[in-house]
Amino acid sequence: MKREVPIIVTTVAGIFMILEYFHNIPGLANGAKELQNWAILVAAFALALAAINLAARHLRNITARHQNAVHSGLLLASMFATVIAGIFFGTDARAFVFIFDNIITPCGSAFYAMACFHLASAAYRAFRAQSGQAAALLITGIIVMLGRAPIGDLIHPYLPKMATWLMQVPNLAGMRAIMISSAIGMIGVSLRIITGIDRTHLGMGQE
């Protein structure tokens, strides 16, 4: 029972969504909308789940007097402050907006912008024309990089044209083939999950 029910749920839900899309049966469309709304609601619960897992782990750090207990304390404090501000005072409350504007925004963008530094040092250290193919990557990269910046026109009027051509012809061919190939792969995996042949997502392995 505990094994069969989840597989049946996956199969019925998946096949229903597929049938609804390809067939014009009036009742199906409405049913599909309802099911999607259910899935959205379950996903909303799941959103809290990850956060609660995180809280539980840091709470354990504190009770066990782990070496990172102070950091865990900071994490929990800022989490609870945000939750209290958002749930009890509303998402338009000043405290909530302050947290969003002055903690989440600057930190999020600073963390992401750090990738720019790493990218610069990786480009300097690792982008070597060691082989013909590596050289192809490097040269295309430089042409696209310079050609797409306004300075490309100043360096040579042909540079932006080359960048555009590289994007629209060879890149198109490469990306399209990757897309077709991965579409087949994605359909294969999903069909195996829907038909119950592959059960790894349930932690059961296949049988």
Partner: protein, 277 residues
């Protein structure tokens, strides 16, 4: 030869500091390098310029604050253009941070007289990712029973007569990841779709532009600058382009340095080996 080899051994912290300086200086003292308009932007602009006053468009805010510096300038440029032409905007988000971002961009227009619920509305966030996207593209009000400000969506004037995407005139999504999910779920609905993606995702979106699945593609800060120029409202993105150019030059120089040093080292090693033989 030693000097050439040392070109590959510059401390990366020096590189970091140089990078910041090279970006900062042209922002303080702009050079004013001319910005040409790419065909991508022209195509997207032509599509949007077909909209008439009173038309409604959906703007999906699919980016987070971390990717905002690259994507947000496009959203700003498009909002300015559309609101000036009295086009109505519905904002939606499948990213938790989306509604706060949208609210902040909408605020100046509300202060200057645009009416919430009539000229624009913010439907807020919905969990569920692609499932939510498929659901709201077909039925906005059922997926979003309430908007971000707590109003019942069925009472909003802007949503009267609108069930799903095909009842609007254009669908614009802003994202800091790939365009795939939007193309998948909205692609076969009868509405022109414009993608505004983070620059990194541009090459991957190219097949969708070529096949016509996307009616327009705008990518990152550069496209925002171009859009500001074609709509005659130069702003922040145009101002940042000089820095962008110099940043690219610096990275190119460092790649060249790295390679020179690599080849010098390699030719020395080869020469050394021949010497031993």
């Amino acid at each position: 030869m030693d000097v050439l080899m040392k070109l590959g051994d510059i401390d990366k912290r020096v590189l970091y500091v140089l990078l910041v300086l090279v970006l900062l200086i042209p922002m303080v003292r702009p050079i004013g390098i001319r910005i040409s308009i790419s065909h991508w932007t022209t195509k997207a602009y032509e599509q949007l310029s077909r909209l008439e006053p009173g038309d409604t468009v959906i703007c999906d805010f699919g980016y987070n604050v971390d990717g905002a510096p690259d994507v947000e300038p496009i959203a700003k440029a498009i909002f300015r253009d559309l609101f000036d032409r009295n086009i109505k905007i519905i904002t939606v988000s499948l990213n938790a941070q989306g509604p706060m971002i949208a609210e902040k961009l909408l605020l100046p227009y509300e202060e200057s007289g645009k009416v919430y619920g009539t000229d624009f509305c913010n439907l807020g966030f919905m969990a569920g990712g692609e499932t939510a996207l498929a659901a709201y593209a077909r039925d906005l009000k059922r997926t979003f029973p309430r908007d971000w400000r707590g109003n019942t969506t069925s009472t909003l004037p802007i949503l009267q007569g609108i069930t799903g995407a095909p009842d609007t005139k254009a669908w614009i999504f802003f994202t800091d990841s790939s365009a795939e999910a939007w193309v998948r779920q909205v692609g076969d609905l009868d509405v022109p779709m414009i993608g505004a993606v983070i620059t990194v995702a541009a090459p991957q979106a190219e097949p969708f532009v070529h096949s016509g699945q996307l009616s327009g593609l705008l990518t990152g800060l550069r496209s925002a600058a171009e859009y500001e120029i074609v709509t005659n409202r130069p702003g922040g993105a145009v101002a940042a382009m000089d820095a962008q150019s110099l940043g690219h030059i610096l990275i190119t120089i460092f790649i060249v340095f790295g390679n020179i040093s690599y080849f010098v080292k390699r030719s020395k090693e080869l020469a050394g080996r021949e010497g031993v033989q």
